[in-house]
């Protein structure tokens, strides 16, 4: 009799405990808590059914184009065939010629775009991080005006990049307000270093608040006791910031910086609208590839796109390698309170050691 009176909820869990748990643990998850079966743990078939549409669409819009770009980059341009003198209707296979062009004859333009992209990424992300952290610290402290500040910093985020480019072009106009403020005539939106400065100012305005937001979220989970302990130990404000705040918000900050880097590396709208297409001083790799493609030179365009893709991939890979794989799997932890507690504890200990 006792056997048949099994409560229904254990039955509901049954399929999970038998079929679910062997596959529950992704490699490297040693925490025994994770093996606790979820209420709805179930067959892989349901999962496959639910996940496959997304994977299918992403393969069509991301994987397939990427492979096509790789193939396309080995083909040349339609037009006159130099050997026969006839007009070709198909694109000739040229092997790695597009790439050798990029590193040879067309090298100046490529390297210029490459350095511009790198320069923009390093400078804007650096400035955004500093300004964003400062903003987060102010917001975290300001109890009264917090809602106001938070509403305020969402505004630059909500303005479309293309519109913000137009807005800054207007501000940086030769008769614009930027020149009126500094009382100096600078032709910001013409070729030259000013153009770079204009792009950087506009980009930082738009995205520093975003970093501020993410860092603020990181600050809010730091328990107050850590600061109290440090204060009792006689640590000054600067030391507390350097040895407690910074290490503890590091995970949030790193995610923010990674995402900003990826975004800055593919920068397009801002320099394209603010300064213009084919402007040497601000041309980025994205602009270069888009320009080639819009002139129906798909082969060279694809080669540029492939190189940009590799560059982005390399930076992302280096990031994840240097800083641990935790970056992307971030949400995995949130489902298990035990892990979060342990992590916070580890962070606390780290802070103690540092202080």
């Amino acid at each position: 009799m006792a056997d048949t009176r099994t409560p229904p909820d254990t039955e509901a869990e049954e399929p999970g405990t038998t079929t679910g748990s062997p596959s529950v643990r992704p490699a490297g998850q040693a925490n025994p808590r994770r093996t606790r079966t979820k209420a709805t743990a179930g067959s892989g078939w349901t999962a496959a059914l639910l996940v496959s549409p997304t994977l299918l669409v992403l393969s069509i819009v991301v994987l397939y184009p990427t492979l096509m770009a790789l193939r396309e980059s080995l083909y040349g341009v339609k037009g006159l065939d130099p050997t026969t003198g006839f007009i070709r209707t198909t694109e000739p296979f040229v092997g790695l010629e597009n790439y050798s062009q990029i590193f040879g004859a067309a090298g100046d333009r490529f390297w210029n775009a490459f350095w511009n992209t790198t320069f923009f990424t390093v400078v804007t992300v650096g400035l955004e991080t500093v300004i964003g952290v400062a903003m987060a610290l102010i917001m975290h402290k300001a109890f009264r005006g917090r809602a106001l500040v938070r509403a305020g910093i969402l505004v630059p985020w909500a303005v479309p990049t293309a519109i913000s480019a137009l807005l800054w072009r207007w501000i940086f106009h030769s008769d614009g307000v930027a020149n009126a403020l500094i009382g100096h005539q600078i032709l910001w939106t013409t070729e030259g270093f000013h153009a770079k400065v204009a792009v950087i100012v506009a980009e930082v305005w738009k995205t520093a608040p975003f970093i501020g937001l993410l860092v603020l979220a990181g600050l809010q989970v730091i328990p107050n006791e850590v600061y109290e302990a440090a204060r009792i130990d006689g640590a000054g404000a600067l030391r507390r910031f350097w040895h407690i705040t910074l290490p503890l918000v590091k995970p949030a900050l790193l995610v923010a910086v990674l995402f900003r880097c990826m975004d800055a590396l593919r920068m397009f709208d801002l320099p394209y609208i603010l300064i213009g297409a084919q402007k040497n001083s601000v041309e980025t790799l994205s602009m270069l590839a888009q320009h080639e493609a819009s002139n129906v030179r798909f082969g060279p365009a694809s080669a540029y796109a492939v190189l940009l893709f590799l560059y982005v991939f390399l930076i992302a890979f280096a990031f994840v390698r240097l800083l641990g794989t935790d970056l992307v799997g971030g949400t995995e932890r949130s489902s298990s309170p035990g892990r979060t507690r342990r992590r916070r504890f580890a962070a606390l200990r780290r802070a103690e050691v540092a202080a």
Binding site: L58, A69, V149, L154, V155, W170
Partner: protein, 277 residues
């Protein structure tokens, strides 16, 4: 209150004002400029001497095609958001609730796709769409937009579903629901705020898109609002119509800003979901 504390308070106040000013000043400038008369567009006073809606009329001048562009933007961003949400809800539910092999790997891959340089998918798709005659169609803009909208929606919704206790479905299933029914009747209604927030964030991302819309269209009638605005023509070739550009910019941005301010708490939760935990 000690003097140092009072000073610290004042300093904080200055900081708050500085942050708000930094964020809002350029936006304010757009608003003010859009309300100036075209004769005093180059004024640098803080308020327009005469408030005029001349620039707004100019933005809606039929020759600019701005009304059609707004409609195009709505269609493209709207359909992109709807499709992305539909697919992402299923996937995110599986990610949050079911246990299966390669889950971590799949989630990592989906998030990684959102880091792709858009141009490296635009170039091959541009060639493909040229071949199959899709240039100047809505689908030519919607399909590539899925590359960033879908990962964004999956990522956001997964976090939202994870925050909901397992016990809810558990209870529904004890009461005789299948998992599918539990999902439809219990989870979806309860997750509605999360889905709504995700929809806003995805819509804003799709609404802000420029590179795809620029590359896939060459007919003015098919361009989205940001592209059309960047091509606004002045009276002469050498004149940029800043006034009507600012007016159009206000019109394109203000609805977003209003929505963002109304739902700021939720949007902040959505945006910071991945980073803080």
């Amino acid at each position: 209150m000690t003097t140092t504390a009072r000073w610290r308070n004042r300093l904080l106040y200055v900081g708050v004002v500085a942050v708000v000013a930094y964020c809002l000043a350029p936006f304010y400038w757009m608003l003010v400029s859009s309300l100036r008369r075209s004769s005093d567009i180059f004024d640098t006073s803080l308020f327009p001497s005469t408030v005029s809606f001349e620039n707004y009329r100019a933005a809606f001048d039929p020759s600019q095609g701005f009304t059609k562009a707004l409609l195009n933007s709505l269609i493209v961003a709207g359909i992109t958001t709807a499709l992305a949400l539909l697919l992402a809800t299923c996937t995110a539910y599986a990610m949050a609730r079911l246990d299966f092999r390669f889950k971590r790997l799949i989630l990592t891959l989906i998030i990684a796709t959102s880091m792709f340089p858009v141009v490296s998918i635009v170039v091959p798709l541009l060639k493909l769409f040229t071949d199959i005659g899709w240039i100047n169609t809505y689908q030519a803009m919607i399909v590539p937009s899925m590359s960033f909208a879908l990962p964004l929606a999956v990522w956001n919704l997964t976090t939202f579903f994870r925050q909901m206790p397992d016990e809810l479905e558990h209870a529904a299933m004890i009461d005789g629901c299948t998992r599918g029914q539990a999902f439809r009747k219990v989870i979806i209604p309860l997750a509605a705020p999360g889905i709504f927030t995700t929809a806003i964030i995805t819509f804003i991302a799709a609404w802000n898109e420029f590179l795809i819309a620029l590359s896939m269209t060459n007919k003015p009638g098919m361009q989205t609002a940001p592209v059309a605005m960047s091509k606004f023509a002045g009276a002469t070739q050498f004149e940029t119509p800043f006034g009507s550009q600012m007016a159009a910019g206000v019109l394109v941005t203000v609805p977003l800003v209003v929505v963002v301010l109304l739902f700021q708490r939720r949007i902040v939760a959505g945006l910071t979901a991945g980073a803080a935990k």
